[in-house]
C-alpha cells in the first residue's frame, strides 16, 4: 500500500484549508483468508475512504475523509490512482494545519456484506505528511 502526496495550506476565512494531491497503489485483500481476494460470496461492496488524521492545539484528535469510492463486487480490487485531488474540503476546526508536521493518511474500507456484520478495516501502510509553515496564496488548485 503506497501513497505519495504533495500539499500546501491556504487561508480561508478563519479556518485552515489544506490541499492534498495523492497517488494510491493498493491491493484490497482479505488478510484472514491468507491474502485471498476480499470479494467472497458474502461481500456486496466495499466503501473505501482515504482519511487524514492529525492533532492540533484545539483538538486532540481530528479525522477528515479526503476521498472515498464505492467498489462493487466484480470490480478489480486493485487500485492504481495518480494525481488525485481530495473530493472533500480539508478544513480544520481552527488553524491547526499550518506548520503541522504530522498528518497521517490512511486508506480504510467498510465491508458491506449481502447480510451480516459491517466491519471497518484499516489498510496496512500509511503515509505521514507535513504541512508547510506558511500559507500559500499564489497557487491555484
Amino acid at each position: 500500500l503506497r501513497k505519495n502526496v504533495e500539499d500546501f495550506t491556504g487561508p480561508r476565512e478563519r479556518s485552515d484549508l489544506g490541499f492534498v494531491t495523492f497517488d494510491i497503489t493498493a491491493d484490497i485483500l482479505n488478510g484472514k483468508n491468507g491474502l485471498q481476494t476480499i470479494f467472497d460470496w458474502n461481500v456486496k461492496q466495499l466503501f473505501l475512504y482515504l482519511s487524514a488524521e492529525y492533532s492540533t492545539k484545539n483538538n486532540a484528535l481530528n479525522q477528515v475523509v479526503l476521498w472515498d469510492k464505492i467498489m462493487l463486487r466484480g470490480d478489480n480490487p486493485r487500485l492504481s490512482l495518480k494525481d488525485m485531488k481530495s473530493k472533500y474540503f480539508f478544513f480544520d476546526d481552527g488553524n491547526g494545519l499550518k506548520g503541522n508536521r504530522n498528518i497521517t493518511l490512511t486508506l480504510s474500507w467498510n465491508v458491506v456484506p449481502n447480510a451480516g456484520i459491517l466491519p471497518l478495516v484499516t489498510g496496512s501502510g500509511h503515509v505521514s505528511v507535513p504541512f508547510p509553515d506558511t500559507y500559500e496564496t499564489t497557487k491555484s488548485y
Binding site: K44, Y49, N59, V65, I70, Y88, A115, G116, L118
Partner: protein, 186 residues
C-alpha cells in the same frame, strides 16, 4: 369438493371457539399476555446489551445506496466505550425531529476530554448533511447518536414500512396475529 371442504373446516373452527369454556379462554388470554411480555423483555434486553434506545432500525431512504436500500434492517450498538470515528455508519436524530437518519461519518474533531463534534454524509448524496441539521447547527454531537450500524439484513424491514404507509395493513396484521394466538390450541 375443495371449496366445500374448506367451508366445513372454517365452521369446525368457529365451533371450537364456542366450545371453549371460560377457563380455557382466560388461559389463552394469559398465554397471549405472556408472549407479548416475553417479546417486550427481549426488546428491552437488546436495548441494555447494545446501549442503544433503538437497537434495530429500518432504512427509510435511498441515501445510502447501493449499500442499503429502503426496507433493510440495521442492527445498532451505542456503547460509550466505542469512540466515533470516520467511516462509521451512524444513526442519528436531529434535535426536534423524530425520524432517525442513517449516514456515514465524514469528519470528526475530538477534544482531549472526549467531547466530539462530527459531520455526516449519505453515500448516495452529493453533499454533506449540514443542510439537514438544525438551523445554525454545523456539527453533530454524541447526544444526537442513536447508535452505530454493526450488521444488517436486507429487505426484512419492508413489512414495517408497509405498516407505516398503509395503516389498514397494520391493523390487519395485528388482528390476524391476535386471532391466531387466541384460537391456537396448545
Amino acid at each position: 369438493a375443495a371449496v366445500a371442504a374448506a367451508a366445513m373446516l372454517s365452521l369446525d373452527f368457529l365451533d371450537d371457539v364456542r366450545r371453549m369454556n371460560k377457563r380455557q379462554l382466560y388461559y389463552q388470554v394469559l398465554n397471549f399476555g405472556m408472549i407479548v411480555s416475553s417479546a417486550l423483555m427481549i426488546w428491552k434486553g437488546l436495548m441494555v446489551v447494545t446501549g442503544s434506545e433503538s437497537p434495530i432500525v429500518v432504512v427509510l431512504s435511498g441515501s445510502m445506496e447501493p449499500a442499503f436500500h429502503r426496507g433493510d434492517l440495521l442492527f445498532l450498538t451505542n456503547r460509550i466505550e466505542d469512540p466515533i470515528r470516520v467511516g462509521e455508519i451512524v444513526v442519528f436524530r436531529i434535535e426536534g425531529r423524530e425520524i432517525p437518519i442513517v449516514h456515514r461519518v465524514l469528519k470528526i474533531h475530538e477534544k482531549q476530554n472526549g467531547d466530539i463534534k462530527f459531520l455526516t454524509k449519505g453515500d448516495n448524496n452529493a453533499v454533506d448533511d449540514r443542510g439537514l441539521y438544525k438551523q445554525g447547527q454545523h456539527w453533530l454531537e454524541k447526544k444526537d447518536v442513536v447508535g452505530r450500524a454493526r450488521g444488517f439484513v436486507p429487505y426484512i424491514g419492508i413489512v414495517t414500512i408497509l405498516m407505516n404507509d398503509y395503516p389498514k395493513f397494520k391493523y390487519a396484521v395485528l388482528f390476524l396475529l391476535g386471532l391466531f394466538v387466541l384460537v391456537h390450541r396448545e
